[in-house]
């Protein structure tokens, strides 16, 4: 058969690559979200797998099926791929029952990336809510690795309670640095919490990052995005300056199975990252 042209997948795009689960860590205090650090079982696969923040993979557990997840590790963190998964359906429930040392499969990397070229030389505002911080973690670590290439970096991350904020070690480490502004917020005051309290839209308004020469990346629950966008508009952000990542239901991940389209665009191929200007051209089917 003729050769396909996509870089990362093996010759048959439906075959998952075998991965070893190196490490499993709880991310939140109710234990519904865990991070899985995976290592390639075949050296060849590891050599060929290169990715950029914003991309995702299909995690495969034979017997249960596949489900898509953003890559939470950064390409600058070598030796593992991290996926942070909330227990919700069949595949994720099985995944949560696995142990370190077990093996699963991945297909990918799939989809487009955050607009790193566009972001070069600009100020960056990253806004996240709840569980939707996985590819944002990948992005922030990548930005910090090449810190001199970017202007001011501001991160606003909110969750309902302190225990539901993910990646605490990373957040606290970033707070210690002088070259990134990190605002962690929770919905209502909690004992022992000394950082910000309030919903993400209000905290963004308070933080008031400048829109001048800035790119904003926003990922979170739809309701958070809906109320944060007007705030960003008020701060002067144009729709072409704001990017988000969509999560429609997927199967193949390569633009064939016809499931994840928003209008004529496929989230798996043309996305998952879209600018608000791009989304304005599409029907609200996400």
């Amino acid at each position: 058969m003729s050769e396909r042209s996509c870089g990362q997948l093996c010759h048959n795009p439906y075959l998952p690559l075998p991965m070893l689960i190196m490490r499993i860590a709880d991310e939140v205090d109710d234990r519904t979200i865990k991070s899985f650090d995976l290592a390639f079982k075949n050296v060849n696969d590891a050599d060929q797998f290169t990715y950029t923040p914003g991309q995702f993979c299909e995690l495969s557990i034979f017997g249960q099926g596949e489900a898509p997840f953003g890559i939470a590790s950064s390409p600058v963190e070598t030796g593992f791929l991290r996926f942070t998964v909330k227990q919700a359906g069949v595949v994720t429930s099985k995944l949560h029952s696995l142990k370190e040392g077990d093996s699963i499969g991945i297909r990918g990397p799939l989809g487009n990336t955050f607009p790193l070229e566009l972001m070069h030389g600009k100020n960056i505002v990253v806004i996240g809510g709840g569980f939707a911080f996985t590819t944002l973690r990948s992005l922030i670590i990548t930005l910090l690795d090449q810190r001199a290439d970017y202007g001011d970096i501001t991160v606003v991350y909110g969750a309902r309670t302190p225990g539901l904020l993910m990646y605490k070690n990373d957040l606290n480490a970033w707070e210690q640095r002088g070259d990134i502004k990190v605002v962690q917020t929770i919905d209502v005051a909690a004992p022992g919490w000394e950082r910000q309290v309030g919903f993400v839209p209000a905290v963004v308004e308070q933080t008031a990052p400048s829109a001048a020469n800035t790119v904003g990346i926003i990922c979170g629950p739809p309701v958070m995005i809906r109320f944060t966008l007007p705030v960003m508009t008020k701060l002067g952000f144009g729709s072409e300056q704001i990017y988000t990542s969509l999560e429609n239901r997927m199967k193949c991940g390569i633009g064939k199975c016809g499931r994840c389209n928003v209008g004529r665009k496929y989230v798996c191929l043309d996305g998952p990252v879209f600018s608000m200007a791009q989304l304005a051209e599409l029907p609200a089917e996400y």
């Binding site: 396909r4 439906y14 075998p18 017997g63 994720t92 142990k99 390569i254």
Partner: protein, 354 residues
């Protein structure tokens, strides 16, 4: 038009045997009182030149369900592939209607192009010779003419047969068709046979109702995403999905794992945009929450998104969805309704002429 040869009724059986030497034969056959494309034992089973089958021929390249891979079972390893199943068997698909042959061209653009090729589809397609038979029996639900096609369209076929009173005029269309045609040693068709063949397909074309459906349809649809017409259209729909299953161009699929004691198989099977679960997310949220939004997707996909993305409509006018719909929904009427709605809107739009 390539050179044309004559296959007489006396030579038909021997010719079909020759095809069987070339590959596994798939042709219209009677199975349980239904004319359908199926594996055929030989010439005596083949039913050529009849009306369209109820189901399309897409399964030949894209089966209703198929094994993508098999996996082993170990309690600590959910990644072991034991087998992948690419089917390279040479095949001859004999006697498809021109609309079915034409449908493969659009499917090729989905499965054979883009970022990744689909190795399962491509292997079958590359190893299958498509011999279409010109359509002498269009029915009241046929509307291939709405796409500029007709009963003797050779698009997508390697070889096209014209039925002529029991004999066939044979046109070798593609390079693969011309190559294998050399082995058949058929005599050139005489003028009389060619004229008769053309007269028969011309008469068939005459029997198609004149129909304008696709002119400007993409522009018409562009403004109708939020229209109330989808609710009207979908009102009768019972979401059975039959239209999509019988459609030669519908290609949406699901991937599921099937467990056996010793291991299992990852299967691919047809899925349909008409089903609520198609887009339902694990959280319970569904971006297409009602049948109206699913009907809109079906029409938009076929007549707006596919033309924009791959340059072809996702419809060939075979009429199977019309024939098989249990509540008599008719895609032709829906497209006409779309056009009227667009005209009405254009007329009502302020500052626009007419």
């Amino acid at each position: 038009m390539g050179e044309k040869y004559l296959l007489t009724k006396d030579n038909l059986t021997a010719w079909i045997s020759q095809l069987q030497q070339h590959g596994r034969l798939i042709a219209p056959v009677m199975r349980a009182d239904e004319l359908r494309y199926d594996y055929a034992d030989g010439a005596r089973e083949v039913v050529l030149g009849q009306h369209n089958t109820r189901r399309s021929a897409k399964w030949v390249f894209f089966p209703q369900h198929e094994v993508l891979l098999r996996y082993g079972k170990r309690l600590d390893d959910y990644s072991q592939i034991t087998d992948t199943v690419i089917d390279n068997t040479p095949q001859v698909l004999l006697g498809v209607t021109p609309c079915d042959a034409r449908s493969f061209v659009m499917l090729d653009r989905i499965f054979g192009q883009g970022t990744c090729q689909d190795p399962y589809y491509c292997a079958r397609r590359a190893n299958t010779l498509v011999i279409a038979c010109a359509c002498a029996h269009p029915t009241s639900t046929c509307f291939c003419n709405a796409f500029g096609s007709g009963p003797a369209d050779s698009t997508g076929a390697d070889v096209l047969l014209y039925p002529v009173d029991g004999d066939y005029v044979v046109e070798l269309v593609s390079d693969a068709g011309k190559q294998i045609g050399l082995d058949w040693h058929l005599p050139l068709a005489n003028e009389a046979a060619i004229e008769r063949a053309e007269a028969i397909t011309a008469a068939a074309a005459e029997r198609l109702q004149p129909i304008e459906l696709t002119a400007g349809i993409e522009q018409d649809l562009a403004g109708l995403f939020e229209s109330g017409l989808w609710r009207e259209v979908a009102e009768k729909c019972i979401a059975c999905g039959t239209c999509t299953y019988n459609c030669p161009e519908c290609h949406c699929f699901n991937i599921v794992d099937s467990e056996l004691a010793s291991g299992g198989a990852r299967l691919r099977g047809w899925d349909a945009c008409m089903f609520p679960q198609f887009t339902a997310q694990a959280s319970g949220y569904n971006p297409r929450p009602d049948q109206a939004s699913r009907w809109r997707q079906r029409v938009m996909h076929k007549f707006s998104y596919l033309p924009a993305n791959v340059g072809l409509f996702g419809c060939v006018g075979c009429g199977r969805c019309i024939v098989s719909c249990p509540v008599r929904l008719d895609i032709r009427q829906v497209l006409q309704r779309v056009h009227q709605e667009a005209l009405t809107r254009a007329a009502a739009a302020p500052g626009k002429e007419g």
